[in-house]
Amino acid sequence: MFKILKYSFYDLMRSKWSYFYFLFYLLLGFLLLFLNNDVSKGIITLLNIVVVLVPLIGTIFGIMYFYNAREFTTLLLAQPIKRSHIFLGQFLGVGGSLTLCLVLGLGIPFVLYGLLRSGAIWDFSLLLVVGACLTLIFTALAFNVALGNTNRIKGFGYAVLLWLFLAIVYDGLFLLSLLIFEEYPLDTYALIGSMANPIDLSRILILLKLDISVLLGYTGAVFKSFFGTSKGLIIALIILVLWIVIPVRLMVWQGNKKDF
């Protein structure tokens, strides 16, 4: 598995898209700090960008890589290598290089701006952890979509729709349902609803850590009152990890029964 990871990683490190992604974050980091002129404020602005853009980039990169590596995958399948290792290796290669771009791209400007001497270091670290989780989640989801669709155009379309749904449409529908059923007790429903979407969950997770009640919104407030800040943080993080594990298992299962 590590050999496959190594080759996928090398392959991506040679692609100009990885550098594009890295430079994009580098620029974003510097720009935000330049505009806010404050590390803590920069993190809040960054949060809103990270929870929407990181999933999009994970989705697009994941689906593009999988389809582009199709020849490589068929070549590997004829070798004495376990099937699950092929897909896990490729997944970790993509997820790993994207995470590296994210951490370095955002890390460099913040460190240069005096992050290490400020109190925001843990908030920032958590933001990067959440960013890494979102990258892995959406790469795994994209791999699943790609495994289920041989047609590239369809696969690409479904993957982007999935991102659109989780990043934008879901919130609207969720809010609408809360409004319609406002006469009923909705605490548990709101709790489950926010856990069922990794993007919402990530937003709540960071806001809990930053302890900014104004920005928490209804679901976040429920989360906080239900679990309290520190327990809420841990539970949100565990569910976020489950959001990685389940799609990855599904990916391995799909890969094992697919014909090439």
């Binding site: 004829a78 376990k82 094992n256 014909d259």
Partner: protein, 236 residues
């Protein structure tokens, strides 16, 4: 070596293999023939584990291969079209496959045989179809394993390379290797094949030597015998 019993494979509603029984127990060159869509590639990909059978059992060296992968150490496979990642160099691809298989490889003489030394630093996407097929051959024949599975190996080869390839095949056969080849070129079959396996609509229509095939259909050459066979089998 290879035992296939009651192998079925359907792709959604398309029933491609309809009960294949095949026993290959000794070395030699086996030509797998049949019209387009008769299931040749599906059958060899099943042996490789790239396609998961709907029903039936496959054994390599007496071991059931379902969900296994280590048995592929004994198999060298040449895919149909040169299906390679385009953005790496020829030399890198060779090194990578050796690294992944963890077997000793002897690719140097093969590079000379097919005149590929000049291309080592080129990316695979820039190679012509014939050159890519030569790279394909090097990757397949550089490992010394008992079973070779070749899917249309002659595609795109120039006459010179074809002669070298046939010599290579005969040399490997004389070492006692089992070689499965799918092809549509009958003159090639006549020249190299020891046994013929004929597939039609997902079933095995004939298995035996070339002489037995000619005898059976009272034909003077293999092309006519095959045409005759396709006709009679459809009539039945």
């Amino acid at each position: 070596m290879i035992q296939i019993s009651n192998l079925h494979k359907s792709f959604k509603k398309n029933h491609v293999l309809k009960g294949i029984d095949l026993d290959i127990d000794k070395g030699g060159i086996y030509a797998i023939l049949g019209p387009n869509g008769s299931g040749k590639t599906t059958m060899i990909k099943s042996i490789l584990g790239m396609i998961v059978p709907s029903e039936g059992q496959l054994k390599v060296d007496g071991e059931d291969i379902a969900k296994k992968f280590a048995y592929r150490q004994k198999l060298n496979y040449l895919p149909q079209i040169a299906d390679f990642p385009g953005n790496i160099k020829v030399s890198e691809l060779i090194r990578m496959i050796i690294d992944l298989r963890e077997q000793t490889a002897d690719h140097e003489p093969l590079l000379d045989t097919f005149g590929l030394r000049l291309y080592l630093d080129q990316k695979l996407s820039t190679l012509s179809g014939g050159s890519a097929q030569k790279v394909n051959l090097v990757l397949t024949f550089m490992f010394d394993n008992p079973i070779y599975i070749l899917d249309e190996p002659t595609t795109g080869l120039d006459p010179n390379a074809l002669i070298r390839f046939k010599e290579l095949l005969k040399r490997e056969r004389d070492k006692g290797k089992t070689i499965l080849i799918t092809t549509h070129i009958m003159s090639f079959v006549e020249e190299v094949a020891d046994e013929i396996i004929y597939l039609l609509e997902g079933r095995i229509g004939f298995k035996g030597s070339l002489d037995a095939l000619l005898e059976l259909h009272k034909a003077e050459d293999i092309e006519h015998a095959i045409a005759q066979m396709a006709k009679t089998m459809v009539d039945v």
